[in-house]
């Protein structure tokens, strides 16, 4: 209570000092505002851009794929003392089912970090219509489960998501290549005489050429029959809540299941690399803008301390403790930071809205509601820290000398 009462005086003096020197205050507030606006805008922009890129990337793939272990040659151990010369040719990886995949699925369903689990069987085939042929990937899914990994129904441009009983869903590119529309028939040839004719029930567009050109969605049963893996699945797709923990979770799931796992971070190394370089660049811009704002505040207050030498002397002579003088200037630094960043935060936020409305409309930038308050908090703390040196100097003025300063 006593501290609060005493802070009242510091507030009052700090505010009066700032208001008394209006032009100086306005100029530095403007400077801080520009800095904060840049920080807020660039942070929102880059965060938005990255979220967008990640969303697009992960919108068409699972976060962690669980695969059967690779087949490897087993080398018999050599007898003691015998020298073994080994010529090994790696084994071809045939399409194999995950053994006991139902159990694995059930275990994953219970896992707290895993959001969705979808067993999938996928393998190569040829699609034929008349004389036209295209190489495709058959993907057998359980639509309900698969929907939670990739919201296929939302990406349909024609027809509906219906994959059972002789129905298939294909991508727009494939439909165009083969001249297919909803209701048309398509012959699928998975080799070794396993063929089926399916009806096109729906056409999707995921926006990734590779997928739109090659994916043919069937139900599990049809795909199992075509790929000659009755009752089997080749992949279990999963999503997780914390996407940037995916590689760590993938390693844990590998240990848990004894299977091979692949996270989106493994398969998108370049993307992650680009994103992290971008983050680092943004971080550097933020740090340097922050530093220049801090120096701005410090230099304005340093000037102010000199300008107010005599007044500081009077306050000290009237019994103002060093700590009080110190706090007066720290509060000024904090206030400048707060005021400048409030203006700048508003401007930065406005810039983002303008970008969203009038920009190239490549993507929408959402502004995290905590961004501006956070920027203000950081700027205020920076202001207080920047004020530390001038404030210390003011607090250590000798009142007998300061009071005679002209």
């Amino acid at each position: 209570m006593r501290l609060l009462d005493s802070l009242w005086t510091e507030w009052k003096i700090a505010l009066r000092f700032l208001l008394d020197n209006r032009l100086q205050t306005l100029l530095i507030v403007f400077g801080i505002a520009v800095g904060s606006a840049v920080i807020v805008f660039i942070t929102a922009l880059i965060t938005g851009l990255q979220a967008n890129v990640i969303e697009r990337t992960l919108g068409t793939q699972s976060h962690i794929r669980i695969l059967p272990p690779d087949e490897a040659n087993r080398v018999l151990p050599a007898a003691d003392g015998a020298l073994t010369l080994l010529l090994e040719s790696p084994r071809a990886q045939r399409l194999r089912s995950i053994s006991n995949w139902q159990d694995v699925r059930d275990v994953l369903d219970q896992d707290a970090q895993v959001l969705a689990v979808s067993p999938v069987i996928s393998g190569p085939a040829l699609a034929r219509r008349g004389v036209a042929r295209a190489s495709v990937a058959l993907v057998g899914i359980d639509p309900q489960r698969y929907q939670r990994i990739i919201p296929l129904a939302e990406e349909l441009v024609a027809g509906e998501l219906r994959v059972g009983a002789g129905d298939a869903v294909i991508g727009t590119e494939l439909a165009r290549d083969l001249g297919l529309g909803v209701g048309d028939k398509l012959r699928l040839d998975a080799g070794e005489g396993r063929e089926a004719v399916v009806d096109i029930a729906g056409i999707f567009e995921l926006g990734v050429r590779e997928l739109d050109e090659r994916y043919v969605y069937l139900d599990l049963k049809q795909a199992q029959t075509l790929l000659d893996l009755p009752g089997g699945v080749t992949v279990i797709d999963t999503t997780v809540a914390q996407i940037f923990e995916a590689d760590r979770i993938a390693r844990r799931l590998a240990r848990l299941t004894g299977l091979r796992t692949e996270s989106w971070m493994d398969t998108n190394g370049q993307l992650l690399n680009a994103l992290s370089s971008q983050s680092m660049t943004t971080e550097m811009i933020r740090v340097f803008v922050g530093i220049s704002v801090a120096f701005g505040i410090a230099s304005v207050l340093a000037v102010s301390v000199v300008q107010r030498t005599r007044e500081i002397g009077i306050l000290r002579a009237m019994g103002s403790p060093r700590q009080q003088i110190l706090r007066v200037f720290l509060i000024q630094g904090g206030l400048l930071g707060l005021l400048g960043s409030a203006c700048g935060g508003g401007v930065g936020w406005g810039l983002v809205q303008v970008f969203n409305l009038l920009g190239p409309r490549l993507f929408y930038i959402p502004v995290d509601p905590t961004l501006v308050p956070l920027a203000m908090l950081v700027a205020t703390v920076t202001g207080v820290l920047a004020a530390a040196l001038p404030a210390r100097r003011a607090a250590h003025y000798d009142p007998a000398v300061a009071i005679r300063y002209v």
Partner: protein, 249 residues
């Protein structure tokens, strides 16, 4: 520590062999005050006179606890002060001493009323209604009640000095120090400011020490202390026949 050595209830300030040197321990060391003994009592109005460079301001800084003496002891309200730390000196300045400086030294960013209240704000934050009333009555006392909300830059030098006096009195200090309070004012204004000191001295009963180099003003005080080359050369009571009422007892 706070036991008064000489239990005179009227004694406000006592200096015993106070010396002040600058640049101690360097080749430039110079002693400005050479052993000052001085005693000020409540209700006394004392003028401190002396030529320029005699050490008046230095003495005032020492008495005002702005500068510690190099040797000797200064008792304020019976308590020795030479060895106390900066924090304590600062508190004593706020509680026991009122300052009036030559150049008024108001804080231009604050209104006249806030300037008067400043020592109280420094002490405990937001002033109470009673304290604001006190400040207003002090402004009334110095004839500036109507200027309470003006800025110091909007009033004349004489008025500023009277605001400074009101400010020095707002804490009801037992000791009021004034450093050439009229040095910057024309004769008539100076005279009226000086009369104000008399009135305050009579009314508030505090010990008042006024540094001046105007012999006519000094003659108006009950007591004149003359400082030459850092030593007190005379300390005399003026005759009350000089047209002034003697300090009340």
């Amino acid at each position: 520590m706070s036991e008064p050595i000489m239990p005179d209830p009227r004694e406000v300030l006592r200096l015993e062999g106070v010396r002040k040197s600058f640049n101690l321990g360097t080749p430039l060391e110079s002693e400005v005050l050479h052993g000052i003994d001085l005693r000020l009592c409540a209700g006394e109005l004392t003028a401190l006179i002396g030529p320029s460079g005699s050490g008046k301001s230095t003495l005032l800084n020492v008495i005002g606890l702005l500068d510690p003496p190099s040797a000797g002891e200064l008792y304020l309200l019976g308590r020795p002060t030479r060895m106390v730390d900066d924090e304590m000196r600062t508190r004593l300045r706020n509680e026991a001493i009122g300052f009036v400086f030559q150049f008024h030294h108001l804080i231009s960013a604050f209104s006249v009323l806030d300037n008067v209240l400043m020592p109280l704000m420094i002490r405990h934050g937001k002033p109470s209604a009673a304290e604001i009333d006190l400040a207003r009555s002090l402004l009334d006392e110095v004839g500036l009640a109507a200027y309470a909300d003006k800025k110091p830059t909007q009033i004349s030098g004489g008025q500023q000095q009277r605001v400074a006096i009101a400010r020095a009195l707002v804490t009801r200090p037992p000791l009021l120090l004034a450093d050439e309070p009229t040095g910057n004012l024309d004769t008539r204004t100076a005279q009226s400011v000086f009369e104000l000191f008399h009135r305050i001295n009579a009314q508030f009963g505090c010990a008042v020490l006024v540094v001046t180099h105007d012999p006519r003003l000094a003659a108006n005080c009950a007591r004149t202390v003359q400082l030459v080359d850092g030593q007190i050369v005379s300390d005399a009571l003026n005759s009350p026949l000089d047209g002034q009422t003697p300090p009340p007892n």
